[in-house]
Symmetry: C2
Subunit: 354 residues, 2 copies
DNA sequence: CTGTTAGCGCCTTCAC
DNA sequence: GTGAAGGCGCTAACAG
């Protein structure tokens, strides 16, 4: 049978309360007593019952990290960094002290699953929840999420947004760390413009995603400023955030506008697919056509030619979100921080041909 | 204050027991009663307390998935697939029914953290635990893990190994899905041998990892069979499973053995770093030197030249592990399945120069 | 410093 | 088909 705290108490000849105290280390306990208790714990191989203690103490050691796509390093890097801050380095004994259980939940980008996970986390009375990545812009869903988050916050769960813009109504979250997607896209477009490009195809992400919209807006803004907007819709093709989609969308762009001299992709993964499509059409990069991405994932520097892209400090942001979730760091003023993006110029972009 | 089941009962003018029954749907309840209860639930915005119900019912809806590196798509793909099987598609309402909470825990490859997570999961009385990826081969740690898993299994947690060889003493796990790393490495080496390569550098993963060892063994086996083993140690450089490490190790190999005509990397990410190092030395791939990886991650087909590698059915294996963990699928005979690897010949390998 | 006493919120026999 | 009662394993006041 499963050994309980009472068993430990009996073996150590103390009261259950005392055992609880040494385990949690929150109250003074005589050294000799503590030792006896710890020995009993070891002898009996006792493991605290998380649910029972959570129930009694009305606290939980679960922290949820929601990601849109766990197979995408974009999220993996943020989640990993957050988890490191939350889980702590471990005490080296493998015995687990007061660590939180930082746990990542993969929504697959589905609004339903996002809500489901939030409910599940609410059920567990999670200590904190971190939402990463762009949000779906459907108003109904946004309202549902906002309501859910409000309830979570109400119940004492610390809610942090990482790489996601603040909720429309500025709901009660501990903090929102938003990437400057728009500014980054603007930098990138200006770089291309300065090289002399005028007709630039844009492979956008899925519709109704904040990330997609902000990046696209930044791009178009810069194009308009330069008077090179052209037929924006014809120069834009939407897809999802994967390489296949980048490939297909690029083929489509090329069909519509064979004269484009550059392709900007919604992110690095998409850019990889775009580059493949261009090569398959016999175009050389960057001699015949330039390609750029976004995010600066680890592989981007290694592809050939190395990808010009916009760097987002994913690990730093994830770590900060983790600290915020743990209350180890003070929230930025107004609960909102705009995280800057940095242009990384590499070999995949050059002046237009001819 | 937080609304409890008793509140719902009061509002619906039934007993708490009845509310519990309609929520769990395990006992017959009059349709009219059920409706009244559900309305009360909605009115009050009631959310089940997971810990309390878990405590009372002695069951949990938590399923843990341990990964070595959450930023690595190798794990992301497996974890995502497993999570999909476990979490179910969601009922579309966002209300969360009997779903399990599939969560992924990032050990960062650290034995300590692995143990810590296992303990945390044990505390939560997890319904199931899936361990993915190679294991650390330190005997002490293996014993500790085996002991932990035995206890988990004992407490009713279903333990599944995915992409990890069975425990040394064949401990009580539901199933072990092991990749045929050795066979895959052999296929790859034979491919290179058949192209005429004889001096092949091998960039291995971290020491004392099953995955590292098996891949290396397969490689060496094939080389020996062909009488081309050479000075194995000189031709091998160890590193971690990242691109940086691949870069550095390749530089080192080139220093030691400038005459190598091919470099085989422990995985695709490492291969990317290796390729970068070769190019930086002015070597063309595959004209001057061939490069190959392992895993066939999504980006591998898109790099230039496309990477010759060994494909592992990561998503399929992850999904299967998920089903096994949920008891939705019968374990393979003997609880062990060897998952075959497939050679993917692409542009990065060719006959040796000259 | 340590023991005693109540619950935390829910599920589950057992009666009706 | 429904209610009443007890307890899941632990923590948190209180007393001493």
């Amino acid at each position: 049978m499963t050994v309980t705290l009472a068993d430990v108490a009996a073996r150590a000849r103390v009261s259950p309360a005392t055992v609880s105290r040494v385990l949690n280390g929150n109250y003074p306990v005589a050294a000799s007593t503590r030792e006896r208790v710890l020995r009993a714990v070891d002898d009996l191989d006792y493991v605290l019952n998380g649910q029972a203690s959570a129930l009694a103490a009305a606290t939980s050691d679960l922290v949820g990290i929601l990601v849109n796509d766990i197979a995408d390093p974009f999220f993996g890097i943020m989640a990993g960094a957050a988890q490191t801050e939350i889980g702590g380095p471990g005490d080296g004994s493998g015995r687990a002290g007061g660590e939180k259980l930082a746990v990542v939940c993969n929504t697959g980008g589905s609004p339903d699953r996002e809500l489901t996970y939030l409910t599940l986390l609410q059920r567990q009375r999670a200590a904190a929840v971190i939402l990463t990545g762009g949000a779906v812009e459907d108003p109904a869903h946004q309202a549902a999420v906002a309501a859910k988050l409000a309830k979570l916050a109400d119940a004492g769960t610390r809610v942090v947004l990482c790489g996601r813009p603040p909720l429309p109504d500025g709901a009660a979250v501990v903090a929102a760390l938003a990437f400057d997607n728009q500014g980054g896209a603007r930098l990138l477009a200006r770089h291309l413009l300065s090289l002399g490009h005028r007709r630039i195809g844009y492979v956008a992400g899925p519709l109704e995603r904040t990330t997609t919209r902000h990046r696209l807006e930044g791009h178009r803004q810069a194009m308009r400023e330069a008077g090179a907007a052209g037929d924006e819709d014809r120069l834009t093709a939407h897809g999802s955030y994967d390489r296949r989609s980048g490939y297909d969308a690029t083929v489509e762009l090329l069909r519509r506008e064979p004269e484009i001299t550059a392709v900007v992709a919604a992110n690095d993964t998409v850019a990889l697919g775009a580059a493949a499509a261009l090569r398959d059409r016999g175009l050389r990069i960057p001699e015949d056509i330039s390609v750029a991405g976004f995010d600066d994932l680890p592989f981007s520097v290694d592809v050939v030619p190395a990808l010009t892209t916009v760097r987002l400090p994913l690990a730093e942001a994830g770590a900060r979100a983790g600290r915020l979730a743990m209350g180890k760091e003070n929230p930025p003023p107004g609960g909102l921080a705009l995280i800057p993006a940095e242009l990384m110029v590499r070999g995949s972009t050059a002046g237009p041909r001819g």
